[in-house]
Symmetry: C2
Subunit: 248 residues, 2 copies
């Protein structure tokens, strides 16, 4: 089983409101159709949900956010999700949409519901979920796609986790060299970190956490879908690897 | 609190594949914006999910249905749901999309998750859910919007339930007279009953069940949204009423 996160920056033009990168989505969907192993897909919000969450100043912290903002985040995520579902279907996959509220109870993951997602992936369908605004007892909060990766990986223990992003992986300085294997150094993050949901810093944190379950984590450039295939086939890999090491 | 079901035949042209009735949807969305009371919306599948469930011979009984069919039902429902969400938003409502898998565990409703939907409706947002294909331990089944009405009404006990359909209500014979108040007679059903999810017969069954919780249920013509308003305002009502009577 493989757990894949499609970052908001790879599936959308993050700087432009509701602007999908349809070619990039299509290329990834095509790649996934060639994989003969259960896949679970998580995607970010980019210029859809992420855009609106910034606009309405919504965060991961539960608050009484403007209901107009909550509705906009949620509806725009349905829209982006539909684009992903359509691309998957067009490329001979069988996507199975699962809103995150289906396996989250406020901010607590529901083990049995996440296990269900694993079962669904074993039928050949591809469960697809995404970062979203979630209810939290009279409040709401933003659950990031990256956090979902952590929740799902913890329960399902996939063979590997892939974060597809719009850079080659972790760089040792802005525009610097690729870090091919993550150790404990604190790297300089490429791209903007001004994300509501934490940007690259959050991805590193989640990747470290997941690798501690003994699962390998890859950061790859989603603009080169063959790198996703290579990560899966364990052939020559271009990106950053977090080796699966159990905490002692 | 008011629980409203928009039947597949009112929001889509049931005989034509993926054909929404945008004007009818828009008119209802406009009407709902004028209601100052918590609303929860359920919609059917019509020429989207319902169409595909017929095509792939999927039923309310859990079976190992073709995964292509499951994906088609589910994705087409996301599409129809998005049309409803957009119409609501365009007409100054704040919809909050909730897939049925968020409050169902296989075929069992989850009380706490349904209560959450009630809380969300009290913020002024309109939770919107729909009939869908759901997972049932290595199998799937079709959960109808009508069954959702029963599940939600049982937990939340709304002040009234409205089934908006493309006929005036229950008729005493095909093309016959409107039954203004339902008693125990078995009525002749208008329209086709060859629905995967049971058609009018199912609506009557659910309406009877809901009325036994002491809740009034209205069948109204969704093509005349002012009838929805009148049902809510308790003024001169045109349609069929199931009076809320508790079972002795």
């Amino acid at each position: 089983m493989i757990l894949i996160k499609l970052g908001g920056s790879i599936i959308t033009n993050k700087s432009r409101k509701t602007s999908p990168r349809k070619k990039a989505i299509d290329a990834i969907a095509k790649t996934l159709a060639g994989i003969r192993e259960p896949i679970i897909l998580v995607h970010g919000g980019g210029s859809y949900g992420h855009y609106w969450s910034v606009k309405y100043d919504m965060h991961t912290k539960p608050e009484k956010y403007d209901i107009e903002g909550v509705a906009k985040v949620k509806n725009s995520m349905v829209e982006l999700n539909k684009i992903i579902l359509d691309a998957l279907q067009k490329n001979a996959n069988h996507p199975y949409c699962v809103q995150p509220a289906c396996f989250m109870n406020t901010d607590k993951p529901m083990r049995n519901k996440i296990k269900e997602i694993g079962e669904i992936s074993k039928t050949g369908m591809i469960p697809v979920t995404y970062g979203d605004a979630l209810w939290h007892g009279k409040k709401t909060y933003i659950l990031s796609g990256d956090s979902i990766m952590g929740h799902v990986a913890k329960v399902l223990r996939p063979r590997l986790c892939i974060f597809a992003m719009n850079v080659d992986g972790l760089l040792n300085s802005p525009n610097g060299e690729l870090i091919r294997e993550y150790s404990q150094q604190v790297p300089t993050m490429p791209g903007s970190d001004k994300d509501v949901t934490g940007g690259m810093m959050r991805k590193v944190k989640e990747a470290k956490r997941i690798s501690q379950y003994g699962i390998r984590v890859f950061f790859v450039n989603g603009n080169k879908p063959d790198r996703i295939t290579k990560a899966i086939k364990d052939s020559k890999f271009h990106g950053t690897i977090f080796r699966g090491k159990r905490r002692v």
